[in-house]
Symmetry: none
Subunit: 218 residues, 2 copies
DNA sequence: AAATGATGACCAAAATACTAATAATAGAAG
DNA sequence: CTTCTATTATTAGTATTTTGGTCATCATTT
């Protein structure tokens, strides 16, 4: 699910935003100060940030340059063009003046997320492996590995949930786009083949079977 | 020099914009109606478009969907959110309400150009080949190569994503402007022809098929 | 007439699904 | 605690389907 970080010290506005965004199907996080936002960003990777400028601790102006690789929409009551220009040239994706129309905000959020997903890489890395959803390349250590479409889809799912058990039915459901009529028995084969290829690369068996449930990456 | 197309029927506003932009070092073109804009876009490839909504001939709302691969900043006196939302979700890069502050406009232009130039430029060079999107010329080594329209579109797409797999469906979608009814089976014919021409130039097979996904340049 | 694009037939290669045989595991019974 | 059984997991081998590449042909455009 797409997560949006709301950096806003005014509780009522923040609550309104949170309600709006969750009703639109986004997941939300909250930060009430600039310093808190920095802390959150260390552990969470939101897809988008809504940033209020007047913040306790660290102001939005100071916070913006510290945010990398995440599109930021600045929301502020400051309508003066000097601030707008500073923020836009300083790396903000967009600037919207309070009070704003909720539909417009949602539209700008949609656009920002779309543009960003076009350019940003879809690389998942864990357990010494990397998987690039764009180029369909997988490396283990530094060895490139060749996977079939189905194997790729399965490994992607496992790497998206490291150390979590992924149910067989979940796997079947998620890869149904790539491999429409994969049954539970043929899934076994794919798992088996995938195991072989991963094992061939560095000798480790990385896919753990959880009896009666599904599989897990370790 | 960076060229900006101003689509605006109000001469005084247009003149003001032209003056502003040229003083900032941009090159400008003018269109006074939607239909004129379409005509101009056939022969010129501006880096950015400033689009007024209320136009004679073809309105800005009708024009927007016809513009591809060029960022559009909509300028309008219509401040209502419905229009804004439509334009933004309809592919506009940004929306700015008249009367606007010139500094803010310049800032938004800078941002739009910066974001866009990250993804596209006139000449693409990789793997010892060059491809000029303006003149439709392709060289391999220093040999010029003759490509058909479709082959050019395909190679362009591949060169924009070097070492990345480009899905067959993506290719079909992207070249649909040049070649509207290209199917998956005729695509492989084009790939085959393209391969031949590239191979004839330096003996290398540069297009790699990625099974079940698409093609990749190497 | 020449160039370009689309299409169907064909074969080869790859991926996937199926079947059967074997090994591993959990739970129950003794 | 051991043994047994039913269930599930793994592996191997085979059959089927899908996909890729090429050729020949036809329609369309220039």
């Amino acid at each position: 699910m797409t997560k949006i970080l709301i950096i806003e010290d005014d509780t009522s506005i923040g609550n309104m935003l949170e309600k709006l965004l969750t009703s639109e199907g986004y997941e939300t996080s909250r930060a009430y100060s600039g310093t808190e936002a920095l802390l959150i960003l260390k552990y969470e990777k939101p897809a988008l940030i809504l940033l209020d400028l007047m913040l306790p601790g660290l102001s939005g102006e100071e916070l913006l340059p510290k945010i990398k690789d995440t599109p930021v929409i600045v929301m502020s009551a400051k309508g003066d063009s000097a601030t707008k220009v500073d923020m836009l040239l300083g790396g903000a994706y967009d600037y919207i003046t309070k009070p704003f129309d909720t539909d417009e905000l949602l539209a700008r959020i949609t656009v920002a997320l779309r543009k960003h997903s076009e350019t940003s890489s879809g690389i998942i890395a864990c357990k010494g492996m990397t998987l690039d959803t764009q180029t369909h390349e997988v490396t283990i250590g530094d060895e490139p590995i060749k996977l079939t479409r189905t194997e790729f889809a399965i490994l992607k799912l496992l790497m998206q949930n490291p150390d979590k058990v992924v149910a067989k039915l979940t796997i079947l459901d998620r890869i149904s786009e790539d491999t429409p009529d994969c049954t539970e028995s043929s899934l076994k084969q794919h798992i088996s083949n995938l195991r072989k290829k991963l094992k061939a690369a560095d000798g480790q068996d990385r896919i753990e079977a959880v009896w009666g449930i599904g599989f897990k990456l370790r």
